[in-house]
């Protein structure tokens, strides 16, 4: 398959108060061209760090292992210059907090067009393309609003501007880190729709980071479920949500309440989610797992293909599936 | 080391820059402010006087060529030189002298107090007559503070003094109060226009900076240099150093009004307890000289007294006998920071025999107020004698009525009153000698040291007169370049 992005055994160590912490541990998955891959997990599970590893903006002091190959280039070894050439043009990013991710002292249009301007496009052309792009992301009266400052935009408009900024140079991979978490439900639905539409039109692949299963179920084609910095399971969204191959995914799916029908409150998982800094031995999920065995406590389960296109990091995956 | 360097002085500029100890705030000679040395310094460059003291304190003619008293010394006639002119070319007549005098009285500044009931009248164009209700033999000396302005300058004339009409050797070019006074020669000066192109008197408060400026040649003449700096300056071949006796004595009054210091014996013992000889030798090797009178040797009325020898043993004994309260510290007040080391040494001497003293440096305003209110036990001043005449020192400060020291002695009062009105100079001198003896022997204060003024200047400047009070005369100065 034509994998645009191939992450192999990625591990990231970040400096912590008690020495380095392995926040990403042996994570592997692919993002095929034109497809949307969802990265899901609870807070602190390492979703953002994976996105940052791809675009090469990990925090100072991070130690990275493994390989990330993007269209044949190894992003971890290619050097800053090559990486900068890719950023914005081939790989772009939409971040979680549209409020803080736009420079408050620069006009929207300038920020959206910056990538083009840097690559030497003439001013008039940049302006036209910025207005066109803003128009495409549904900002009314785009020509005028391009001259606004971020604080004059509502949250939804700001996120649209971020999307315009990410899409303006026709990238082949978009990293979207919780693009709708900060938005109201009504706005969220519209922005998600827009993101999908643009992605399809542009033929770009997308790595979508979210902790919201509902969003994922609507947007992502493949899912990667993270737990405490490790992949718990992955596969196509439909199969993962429909027939989880990991007890954690199963519990997750169960705890999402339905809106239109009244559901009972799901039986909660016991305990609290593990954080990378204090990861339990063996399977990180074992203290909360109803199926945990002695083996789970001592042996780290590595993802294995448990069904065609389904990878699970559970010793008891077969039991879960059935 | 040569002069000049990068400091921006043109060698052949014929310009002299001087920096003394005094800050020139003000160049209105009559202004309310009293006793400002800076004003005096500036005044002497810009304005003429009837007579002025020379380096030894003797009066010499300035605008007036002669003066003489009437038989009863109640009036004095001053005869002006002929053909005197102000800097603007207008003639300087006796009317101007009278107007200047009237202005001084009108403003009612501190000097006005010297002329109680005195009036001036122009006899002719060149004769001015001063009349006082009582005989005043010291009048010519007192009149050295009368600077002559053209008539018609009002009392309140701030703007006039931006560029006043001069009667002295120099006229004002520019003036920044308490910073810099730049002057150029007065072409109409009776003694001939000074030869230098300009004379600048600049205030440089920091000693290190001042001496650095002297060494780089930015400043040509400097005076009031601390003694400790002088050896290094002496070794600089391009500089000349000289110290001139002043008319000032270190004067440390005791407050005889307080119980502890009532007795002359106690005061004398405190005096004996201080090793002034060593202190002066160590701290003022150049500008200090042990005093032997309340007055400096250059002052009229000076007469040497028996030196008070350092004898801590005797002092302690005397104090114990007199029941001196050793546990109560003396409040020793002073105003100017430069005297702090000297006074610390004095306190140290006293401490050796168990006499305690708190050294209180007071800010000028508070110092004067406390001085007059007698809120002190020992008061330090470097006390000059205006006009070089004992009258302005002993006569003014030591009578009971002056209420300056807490000391009151009817005998002394009588002597001083007599001396104040006597016309015969010999008689006056004799009376002041007797007065000095009483003051000295009763230890109204300690009179440890007569001070000199040290001058340091670049060798290429010459012809200026060193003055005992720190008022050098630049009317004949030349600058030869380097």
């Amino acid at each position: 398959m034509n994998d645009l992005l191939k992450i192999t055994s990625l591990s990231v160590d970040l400096p912590g108060p008690g020495g380095p912490v392995r926040v990403i541990d042996e994570v592997s998955f692919d993002v095929p061209a034109g497809r949307t891959v969802g990265l899901i997990g609870e807070t602190g599970s390492g979703k953002t760090m994976i996105a940052m590893s791809v675009i090469g903006l990990l925090p100072e002091g991070a130690a990275v292992g493994g390989a990330i190959s993007f269209a044949g280039t190894d992003l971890l070894t290619c050097g800053p210059q090559r990486l900068r050439a890719l950023r914005g043009h081939e790989i772009s990013m939409i971040s979680q907090d549209p409020m803080a991710s736009l420079n408050p002292t620069q006009r929207i249009g300038r920020q959206v067009g910056e990538v083009l301007r840097r690559s030497g496009a003439p001013r008039a052309e940049v302006r036209d393309r910025v207005v066109e792009m803003l128009d495409r992301v549904g900002i009314p009266d785009a020509a005028r609003r391009a001259r606004d400052y971020p604080h004059e935009f509502s949250g939804g408009l700001r996120q649209r501007a971020m999307i315009a900024m990410a899409m303006i140079a026709h990238p082949s991979l978009v990293l979207a880190d919780e693009p709708t978490t900060a938005l109201d439900v009504t706005v969220q639905a519209r922005v998600l729709g827009l993101l999908r539409k643009l992605q399809v039109e542009e033929g770009a692949a997308m790595l979508l980071v979210s902790h919201d299963l509902r969003v994922m179920s609507h947007v992502a084609q493949d899912l990667v479920v993270l737990y405490a910095g490790r992949v718990a399971e992955r596969g196509s969204t439909a199969s993962v949500l429909g027939r989880p191959a990991h007890p954690y995914t199963k519990a997750l799916v169960r705890s999402v309440p339905a809106v239109r029908t009244k559901t009972a409150i799901a039986d909660p998982l016991p305990g609290t989610s593990a954080v990378p800094a204090r990861r339990p031995s063996g399977c990180a999920f074992h203290p909360r797992c109803p199926l945990a065995t002695g083996r789970c406590r001592s042996e780290i389960p590595r993802p294995r293909e448990v069904a065609p296109g389904r990878w699970s990091a559970c010793h008891e995956a077969e039991k879960v599936l059935s | 080391i040569g002069s000049g360097g990068g400091a921006g002085r043109n060698a052949a500029s014929q310009a002299i820059v001087a920096s003394g100890t005094f800050v020139i705030d003000n160049i209105d000679p009559g202004s309310a402010q009293g006793g400002s040395a800076g004003k005096e310094l500036a005044g002497q460059q810009i304005y003429g006087r009837l007579a002025k003291p020379d380096a030894t304190g003797k009066l010499v003619p300035d605008l007036a060529e002669a003066w003489k008293p009437s038989a009863d010394a109640k009036s004095w006639d001053f005869t002006l030189r002929g053909g005197l002119k102000f800097s603007d070319g207008s003639p300087l007549t006796s009317e101007d002298v009278v107007a200047s005098f009237d202005r001084l009285i009108d403003i009612n500044g501190p000097y006005a107090a010297n002329y109680k009931g005195v009036s001036a009248k122009a006899g002719s164009d060149t004769v001015v007559t001063f009349t006082s209700p009582a005989p005043d033999p010291a009048l010519p000396s007192k009149l050295t503070t009368l600077f002559v302005l053209p008539s018609g300058v009002p009392a309140d004339a701030a703007s006039y003094f931006a560029k006043p009409v001069a009667s002295g050797p120099f006229m004002v070019e520019s003036f920044t109060p308490s910073s810099e006074l730049k002057m150029v020669p007065n072409p109409h000066y009776w003694g001939g226009a000074p030869k230098v192109k300009s004379l600048t008197i600049r205030s440089i408060p920091d000693v290190a900076a001042k001496l650095a400026a002297l060494r780089t040649g930015e400043v040509d003449v400097v005076w009031g240099v601390p003694d400790d700096q002088i050896p290094a300056l002496r070794s600089d071949a391009s500089l000349k150093v000289e110290a001139v006796p002043s008319n000032g004595n270190f004067t440390m009054w005791f407050n005889s009004g307080i119980p502890a210091l009532k007795e002359a014996k106690v005061r004398k013992a405190l005096w004996q307890a201080v090793d002034f000889g060593t202190i002066i030798k160590q701290l003022y090797p150049v500008t200090g000289q042990p005093a032997d009178s309340p007055l400096a040797p250059t002052v009229f009325g000076y007469a040497p007294q028996t030196p008070v020898a350092y004898d801590p043993g005797a002092a302690k004994k005397a104090l114990e006998e007199a029941g001196y309260p050793f546990d109560k510290p003396l409040r020793l007040q002073f105003g100017q920071a430069q005297f702090k080391p000297f006074l610390q040494a004095v306190v140290s001497s006293w401490a050796k025999i168990g006499v305690k003293a708190d050294l209180l440096q007071k800010e000028q305003a508070v110092f004067i107020e406390d001085l007059l209110a007698l809120k002190w036990d020992v008061n330090f001043q470097l006390l000059g004698t205006a006009g070089y005449d004992a009258a302005t020192n002993l006569g003014r400060l030591y009578p009971c009525a002056a209420k300056r020291t807490g000391y009151c002695n009817p005998d002394l009062d009588e002597l001083l009153a007599k001396a104040g009105s006597a016309t015969d100079q010999n008689e006056r001198k004799e009376l002041y000698t007797q007065a000095s003896k009483i003051i000295w022997d009763d230890a109204v204060g300690m009179f440890p040291m007569t001070s000199k003024v040290s001058y340091v200047w670049n060798k290429n400047v010459s012809g200026f007169t060193l003055d005992a009070l720190g008022y050098p005369d630049f009317s004949k100065a030349v600058e030869s370049g380097s």
Partner: protein, 307 residues
Amino acid sequence: MLTLVIRRLLAGVVVLWGAATLIFLIVRVAPGDPATVLLGPDAEPAQIAALRTRLGLDRPILLQYGDYLGQTLHLDFGDSYRLATSAMNAVLSRLPATIDLTLTSAVISVFAGLLLGSAAGIRAGSGQDRIVTTLTIVLQSFPTFWIGIMLILVFALGLRLLPTSGAQSLSSLVLPAVTLSFPFTAIVARVARSGIAEAMAEPYVQTALSKGLTPREVLTGHVLRNALIPVTTVVGLQIGALLGGAVVVENVFAWPGLGTLVVESVGNRDYAVVQAATLTIAAIIVLLNLVADLLYAQLDPRIRAAS
């Protein structure tokens, strides 16, 4: 924007009134009588009384205060008896030198401070940062008079490059301005450093980097302007502090500035000049802060909009 200006001006008027009152109070509470100081120890009580009347010091304090406020409104602080000129003239004669010194050292400091601050802030926590930060602390840690005298000994006396004192030529401005800029540079550098470090940590910097900008482009294009915002406030405040707070440096270099004028006038109880000088300084400071505020608003569109 206009609203902001008017609001600030009104606040400024209140501040100036407060400042005028404060200085009036301090000066009156102070021990030591101006008439006594002016006339010296030899004056007679009658003379002192006469001068007190002339100076208006015998009037009830509230009347004096009223007069004083009235005068102040007319920028007329009365005459200085010590300087034989109007107090305002005395101040005006010192103002140019003060402004020369202040502006020069401000320019030096802002330039050097921004340079140092950028070097440190762009890589917060790095060795470079620590070196610069330490340097700024050292800069700030030496008494200015000590630095001043050392500079005189080296550059004026030793190398004969520059004049020691006075305010005659441009070259005589160098040493005092440099001396004065030592602590000021440190302050600007520290504020710029924290501003830049803070801005560097903002998500929009990540955004800019994710667009492929080089660190230098990020610094000049995105960070500096935001980091300048706190710097303007501090510079506004500190230039004001330099106006009269440079007394020590003025003293060392015999620089005829406002600070020395205040010190001398305080010593001489020259109320008129103390009041004129401090209020002039206060007015300039208030004005500078206003300018800084406006600049601030200009730099930060959010504030511009809010006003």
